[in-house]
């Protein structure tokens, strides 16, 4: 998804204005000219300035579609692959704690391998191996408390 300069400018204009307006609500430090609001206000104004430059550029370009689909999105399965990848991360965020790192990681790897048409045998092998190695390195060597969930602790 590619935004034209005008479209990008519009988004920035609204974002910058929203930031500047929000910054007005931040409390000032008594007796000081510059407080918590100073920087966000500056950032908001600078974004508006960038938006104006982008508008000028867009105006020079003439009529261009506001949003164009990039080349890769036309390939079959490309959008699906991105959606599934994002869904896998979301699934990890919600499922890792109740279910545990090992099963969720295995499932994510299997789904993604199959999506990239890795053969079943290889997919299962690498999903198991990568999950166990990651679990060993991070939980046992680096002492990262990966969630157990329903899984018993592995023997390391």
């Amino acid at each position: 998804m590619r935004f034209s300069d005008t479209m990008l400018g519009t988004v920035l204009l609204f974002l910058g204005a929203a930031i500047a307006v929000y910054a007005r609500t931040l409390p000032a430090v008594p007796g000081q000219q510059y407080g918590a609001a100073a920087f966000p206000t500056l950032i908001g104004l600078a974004m508006v300035a960038c938006a104006l430059v982008l508008f000028a550029k867009g105006w020079q370009q003439g009529r261009v579609a506001l949003v164009t689909r990039t080349e890769w999105t036309r390939q079959p399965g490309a959008l699906l692959a991105v959606f599934v990848t994002v869904l896998c991360v979301i699934a990890y965020i919600f499922l890792a704690r109740p279910v545990g790192f090992v099963p969720v990681s295995f499932a994510i790897l299997l789904v993604l391998f199959r999506l990239l048409s890795v053969s079943w045998g290889k997919a299962i092998f690498f999903a198991v191996a990568a999950t166990l190695v990651t679990d060993y390195v991070f939980r046992s060597l680096l002492l990262v408390p990966l969630p157990f969930g329903v899984m018993p602790r592995l023997p390391w």
């Binding site: 935004f3 100073a38 890769w72 993604l112 999950t131 990966l146």
Partner: protein, 496 residues
């Protein structure tokens, strides 16, 4: 002299040498995994150092950090994923070289100039430490403000085909940096009632997202084709070392000096040094148009710089107990635990310990060449693995790495959001590097601006009425003028 001999005795024992080698390998492996930073490697070593004597403990941290900063270049060159933020400045450049089939030249330059840069920083640390630290101590919030401005200005030069889009990226980064409670007045900003956001947006997951997750998404979208046009073999990395040394001696020395100077400044570390040096190199290059297309010149300067800054960051740390970067901040804690309280007295009462630390610095940078060569040889395996196998595994690594930064799922949320942001930015040719720099330098800039304003009661003149600040301000103004001049001239040349 007696102290130096004693220092040799302290360092050349089996215990110290084994510890240093083990720490070196650990640093190389952690640094080579995208998303795991040199700071993280150092932090992970801390629990282990509790069981060690002072010299091996400090030696392990020195070696580990130096190796991790170098090793960050390896995945940067081979996979376009910087292993540590310090490699981010020239990741695109190194990857472009790999695509051109020059991976060995890129990695060879990284090993060689990392080692030389580290040695240069060490020499400065040894000889000029007290005087230079004293100079940096003269800095007040005004000077830090200008340094931060300098860093941000340089950020707009890095890989910015369009200055406006570079600016947009920078503003996104600055905006991200304002989230949370960490501002001079302690007001929660952009937290929208979330407790997690109060602590601000953690840098490590954000970087994993921007660099790694967005790359995984892109590869997944393309169906993970095998590495076409990318050379699978990394040949002889020692090739052309003599040539690079003679051709780029100016860049190398400039990188060493810049890196050392930035390292000495409290708060500015290897990543800022690399960004500044890369931008400086591009500015002064005879062939700036080659930058970004796989040209080794900028890599030479930036990789010298980040390792030089790593060593020189120890100057204020050892002499005054002020950390030069995040790594030395961790190390200072260990020094106290080991009874080596940093400060001028350390040089008076325990000179042999200080000399021993210096020796380990030299040793670590010499070890970098054989061990670095070994790890580069091993890293070839990464490219032999098909991407359809590698990418899902990298995604799991990213998830675990983002989780490990805070041991909370919040890190993974940040990673995902920034992954999508990075994906969108890349689609629209908005460079990512200025955003990263905005996140790192934004808080320094704001803090010093507000502090200065509080001190001066709102008078902006105070930013230029101190000598060092005035010099920095003039330098910055000159850079801006030269940028505007070149843009204007470029546009006129383009229109005629």
């Amino acid at each position: 002299m007696d102290a130096i001999l004693q220092a040799f005795g302290l360092v050349f024992t089996w215990q110290v040498l084994t510890t240093v080698t083990a720490a070196a390998l650990f640093g190389l492996l952690v640094g080579a995994v995208p998303g795991l930073t040199a700071t993280m490697a150092t932090a992970l070593l801390v629990p282990l150092t509790f069981f060690m004597d002072p010299i091996p403990a400090v030696g392990a941290m020195v070696t580990c950090a130096a190796m991790a900063i170098f090793a960050g270049d390896i995945p940067g060159a081979l996979l376009r994923m910087p292993g540590t933020p310090a490699s981010a400045a020239y990741t695109n450049e190194a990857y472009a070289m790999t695509r051109k089939g020059e991976a060995e030249t890129a990695l060879g330059a990284c090993v060689l100039f990392s080692a030389i840069g580290g040695l240069f920083g060490t020499i400065v640390l040894i000889f000029a430490a007290p005087a230079l630290a004293e100079f940096a101590l003269n800095f007040s919030s005004q000077e830090y403000f200008w340094m931060a401005m300098l860093g941000l200005t340089c950020a707009t030069f890095i890989g910015a085909a369009s200055p406006v889009k570079g600016m947009v990226s920078l503003l996104i980064g600055l905006l991200v940096a304002t989230v949370g409670l960490k501002n001079a007045s302690g007001v929660p900003r952009f937290t929208f009632g979330s407790t997690d956001l109060m602590a601000g947006i953690d840098f490590i997951p954000a970087m994993i997202g921007l660099f790694a997750v967005s790359e995984v998404m892109r590869t997944m979208a393309a169906g993970a084709p095998s590495w076409d046009n990318v050379q699978v073999r990394v040949g002889n990395i020692f090739r052309d070392w003599g040539g690079m040394l003679t051709r780029y001696w100016r860049q190398q020395i400039r990188g060493n000096v810049t890196g050392t100077a930035i390292g000495i400044l409290p708060g500015a570390g290897a990543d800022v040094a690399a960004y500044v040096s890369y931008a400086v190199s591009r500015r002064f290059s005879r062939t700036p148009e080659k930058y970004g297309t796989g040209h080794v010149e900028g890599i030479v300067e930036a990789t010298s710089s980040n390792n030089a800054s790593l060593s020189s960051a120890w100057v204020p740390a050892l002499v005054f107990g002020i950390p030069g970067d995040t790594i030395t901040a961790i190390v200072i804690g260990v020094l106290y635990v080991k009874g080596l309280n940093p400060g001028p007295t350390l040089f008076l009462f325990n000179p042999q310990t200080i000399y021993a630390v210096f020796l380990i610095f030299i040793l670590a940078n010499l070890l970098m060449i054989p061990l670095g060569w070994m790890v580069i040889k091993l890293a070839r395996g990464l490219l032999r693995t098909p991407r359809s196998i590698l990418m899902p595994i990298i995604l799991v690594f990213c998830i675990v790495g983002a989780f490990a930064s805070n041991n909370a799922a919040y890190g993974i949320v940040i990673m995902l959001v920034f992954g999508l942001l990075g994906f969108f930015m890349e689609e629209n040719d908005i460079p990512i590097a200025p955003c990263i720099l905005g996140i790192v330098i934004g808080p320094i800039l704001e803090h010093n601006f507000i502090t200065t304003m509080i001190k001066s009661d709102g008078s902006l003149l105070t930013f230029v009425n101190r000598p060092i600040a005035a010099v920095l301000a003039v330098a910055l103004a000159l850079i801006w003028v030269s940028v505007i001049y070149t843009t204007f001239r470029g546009r006129r040349a383009g229109s005629t």
